[in-house]
Symmetry: C2
């Protein structure tokens, strides 16, 4: 092994820094490889009117989920929906998934079946077929790796690098709730660890917990955009927090952005609980992650189609690159948007 | 968590038993899902003349590889070729891969780059594009999960369940060498653990070690079959040992088989080393695994095309299901073929 010769700790680079190092010099050899590394999913051209969109994600016990408070059924469901979300973020429709799973012998067959029941529930709801994968043993924790395959007309596929200055920035649903759901679970875990006889107090937090434990992917958004005949100029799913996703669109599209704090959609229960935890709700939305909403940019001409739409919120606008990405605060000041969301490889 | 309620240990089922439990009741919802779980790869129909073939595999440190004797460059290369092998086993051509990797902080950026260098070397050699994946942290060992995507004319795709009684069973290359390469590495590891000043004695075993550490996928076999205008009636890659693969074809095609021990192609160096280890070379070929050769059945009418072909060996024939799968020994006796090859989930 050579890792002791010259040593750059991974935590100094983080996930995106590492990806930049890895993808360097990768030139595509197949003419039908339309999009490689650098978006929610890769795109493979099939014919003039058909492309395959494909994405892979890996979840590791102790990094992405804690089995102490994650029901296995929900784990399987979330592992699937979080992956499908990447396909919807390309404005495509998922049709198949492959699931690879590594399990230690602490799991029973019934426990594994429960995970797969969750996967199947998601497959049924999203009309996706489980077509393969791998099962193997793990020396330690549970690993779930899912590949999602979707299809779209190449003209409808939305990338991260095609937004334009002057476009309107929009988001579906609400943000920050999944992060607060996680905080509640972590708090109850701490209480339980301290005193195992305590019963968890979870009833009142149903919405936030569901957003964390059993999130849905925005299949309906892709359908609504189709019905409204809107093809966003760029789209990405909110998995690592709004800040991180806005920056992805800005950096890849070479634009700046103004996001208005007062516009950020946050559920009333999230506002309430964020007060209990003494966290600014805007911080939860900007840096919390795992909301699996869709952040997208549209041409100004399409804005009227979204008027009073209950599912979408205008967040702000895209400006020239030199202006950078800014959050316009409720008080009137502006601050630079910095990605502080989820990055499992970055130094904490 | 519910795994303590009713408890069936996974080791009582093994990988294929578990897959049978998992795939139960999975009915495909998309009309273009041609083949789901149960072959080397899934098949998705695209048009009359085009299908996408897709396969995923996961490699876990301590289960599938030992970093004490696996150079990272080779690990990346093998992780890729072993996956591409599944695409060739469908008589298809791989064009893209997605790589998901989980790394603990014991790895440096340079170590990860070395793994990716190996992946890229394989991508270059097989003209495949690395188009995406995931990078994340691991709480313990290294995990590499690869999805390979290929393409084929649906008329040329070879499944496991389409062989017929009377077909001829053939295999490319030679078998058992990868397993013996592993035995040599394990022996040297034991010697080194005992006395760290001992230098490993590996020069004379170059072929066997290369078969274990840096195997190739049989891209050339798919090309040769095309040139010879032969579409096998069934095909599978030899990853878990010849016995296991013969049984897959037999069970799925509902046929029996006679494999002639004297026909099994084994490299002279493998025969020699198997004597040193006091293992029957036939056992290495039948149960060793990781050879990544292609085992296939052809119609008897195609047999003449393979006459004196240096890359292929006639192993035996397919017979009626009732006759079972038998190994005809050199002495004239027959024994039932039992899968004793690699199965990371089965009780040892």
């Amino acid at each position: 092994m050579s890792e002791n010769n010259k040593f750059t700790p991974i935590k100094t680079l983080g996930e995106y820094g590492l990806i930049d190092r890895i993808k360097l010099n990768a030139r595509n050899k197949n003419k039908n490889t339309t999009k490689g590394i650098g978006d929610d999913a890769a795109v493979i051209a099939i014919s003039k009117n058909e492309s395959v969109v494909i994405s892979a994600d890996m979840l590791i016990e102790g990094v992405h989920f804690d089995l102490m408070y994650t029901p296995l059924l929900h784990l399987g469901y979330k592992a699937t929906t979080s992956n499908l979300s990447d396909i919807y973020a390309m404005n495509a429709k998922p049709e198949q998934i492959l699931v690879s799973i590594a399990i230690s012998n602490k799991f029973s067959v019934e426990a594994i079946e429960e995970i797969y029941q969750g996967i199947k529930k998601a497959c049924d709801f999203y009309a996706v077929d489980l077509v393969g994968g791998d099962t193997t043993s793990s020396t330690t924790g549970l690993v779930i790796s899912i590949t999602a395959i979707g299809r779209a007309n190449p003209r409808n596929i939305t990338y991260r690098n095609t937004a334009k200055k002057g476009d309107v920035l929009m988001v579906s649903g609400d943000l920050g709730s999944a992060y607060l759901g996680l905080q509640i679970l972590e708090r109850e875990k701490a209480v339980f660890t301290e005193n195992p006889n305590m019963q968890p107090q979870l009833n009142e937090y149903q919405y936030l917990l569901q957003r964390q434990l059993r999130p849905e992917a925005r299949k309906d958004v892709v359908k609504m955009l189709e019905e409204m005949q809107v093809v966003p100029t760029a789209m990405i799913d909110v998995s690592d927090g709004l800040a991180s996703e806005v920056l992805h669109i800005c950096q890849q599209s070479k634009v700046g952005a103004i996001v208005y704090e007062e516009k950020i959609p946050i559920d009333p229960s999230a506002v309430e609980v964020s007060c209990d935890f003494n966290i600014n709700p805007t911080t939860c939305a900007m840096n919390g992650g795992e909301d699996y909403e869709l952040l997208f940019a549209i041409n100004l001409n399409d804005l009227s189609k979204f008027k009073n739409h209950p599912h979408f919120t205008v967040l702000g606008e895209l400006v020239s690159e030199e202006k950078g990405a800014k959050l316009k605060l409720k008080g009137g000041n502006s601050c630079k948007i910095i990605a502080q969301g989820w990055n499992s490889l970055l130094e904490k």
